[in-house]
Symmetry: C2
Subunit: 254 residues, 2 copies
């Protein structure tokens, strides 16, 4: 058996200047990317990460991600992402995140849900069968993540189409699919600069429903679901549209 | 006077897994971003960077960038970017880059040209007037950068329009302009995945001619200028199109 590591891993990042928006705050997509990196480093270090799984033709697939921030790091800030596994079941594991600023203050939290699939059949596999359920030994029950779990975003079938776009080379990751972070950027691009001047992004949720590929045309349907809260559904295809992503965005006026 | 540092700075980066393309190699846009970070760290450390210039209402503006790579870092590779100032004149300075892989092998080089502007008038200013020309003390004359200088990309006025796109929130940097790296991505998105499966990007050049803003519609004109070599001109606007970027892309078949 591998040497046991602490259940929570902590990774340092910098809010790179060109990863910050007009207001000098880190883009949500880049924060999401830092969380995915932290998850990747944490699971690799503990023996059930992508590096180990690749040899078994298995991989982790992100199913849902929710991020809630009180404050975003600003350019050149060093920030930390702590991550730990909250629970592990046969087909899903939930992994949480805490983001702290340069002075150690908590800036926000994240929650994510992951499945494991066979890279050849694309079918879900039993993640507890990997290394005799090693992941269970790392479940952290005592660390709080005080934001609500990813919700099932309810949207009207009649929500209007607000945007369509094609997908290109830079959208595609090593699995040949549109990159998880690119969807975040495309969803947040539905709101314009004057909007962001007045509204701070407080909570962002995204559920990955199906995969899309380079050349797929994505369609964005948006519906207001509360005061300063919006649901977004992304579909692909032309005649027979298939849902690929659903997202919830909540803004705050400070 | 500040304590003098070595003329060449060396900065470490990682080819993050979600910054790599379908072939597991770092996207050129992210390599460009690493070079811009290295330039920023290097000039800040030496006292004539953005951090110091902001107080004077001045800033560096990237004018040209050329990158030539024999090999791209692959996912999880740690790579280094060395950077040094090759020359400094009143209105332009040239800064070079060398990229080395985890084993110390040189993977490629970059060349860039920068101007300094007044952030209020947007007019060029004398960069040698900053700190009594401190930058001159850092000019490195003895380090080679064995790739050719950025060229003046010649393109036919009749080059066909191949793509148009709108610019959004995630395209815009802290200066309120379309981010230098986003143009690189948009240019490289003119080629599709089947093309990249057969062609390796060997040299990439980009000249920034004018600024564009969120909401601007960008038009991409492309012309083949040699065997596996293409010129791209980006314009903005609808009736009166204005050139904003010109680029040269050279591929290799390995």
């Amino acid at each position: 058996m591998e040497k046991m590591l602490p259940k929570t891993g902590k990774y340092e990042f910098m809010a790179e200047p060109f990863h910050c928006d007009f207001s000098n705050r880190l883009f949500m997509g880049h924060l999401g990317n830092a969380m995915l990196n932290a998850a990747d480093f944490h699971s690799n270090d503990r023996g059930y990460g992508m590096s180990y799984l690749n040899g078994l033709h298995k991989t982790w697939v992100l199913s849902r991600l929710a991020i809630e921030m009180e404050e975003m790091p600003t350019a050149y800030d060093r920030f930390s992402v702590e991550t730990w596994v909250e629970s592990a079941m046969k087909f899903f594991t939930s992994r949480n995140f805490a983001v702290t600023g340069p002075d150690g203050r908590t800036l926000g939290y994240g929650r994510s849900i992951w499945a494991m699939i066979d890279t050849e059949t694309r079918q879900p596999v039993d993640l507890l069968a990997v290394r005799d359920g090693l992941i269970n030994a790392y479940v952290e029950r005592d660390k709080a993540c005080p934001i609500s779990k990813p919700s099932r975003v309810r949207m009207d079938k009649e929500a209007p189409l607000v945007h369509s776009l094609d997908t290109y080379y830079n959208d595609i990751d090593v699995n040949g699919h549109v990159n998880s972070v690119k969807y975040i950027e495309h969803v947040l691009d539905l709101f314009d600069l004057p909007w962001y001047r007045l509204h701070r992004l407080q909570r962002f949720e995204i559920a990955y429903v199906a995969e899309s590929h380079q050349g797929d045309r994505l369609h964005f349907y948006r519906e207001q679901t509360g005061e300063d809260e919006y649901g977004v559904r992304i579909t692909k295809g032309t005649d027979d549209e298939v849902e690929v992503v659903r997202s919830l965005i909540r803004f705050a006026k400070d």
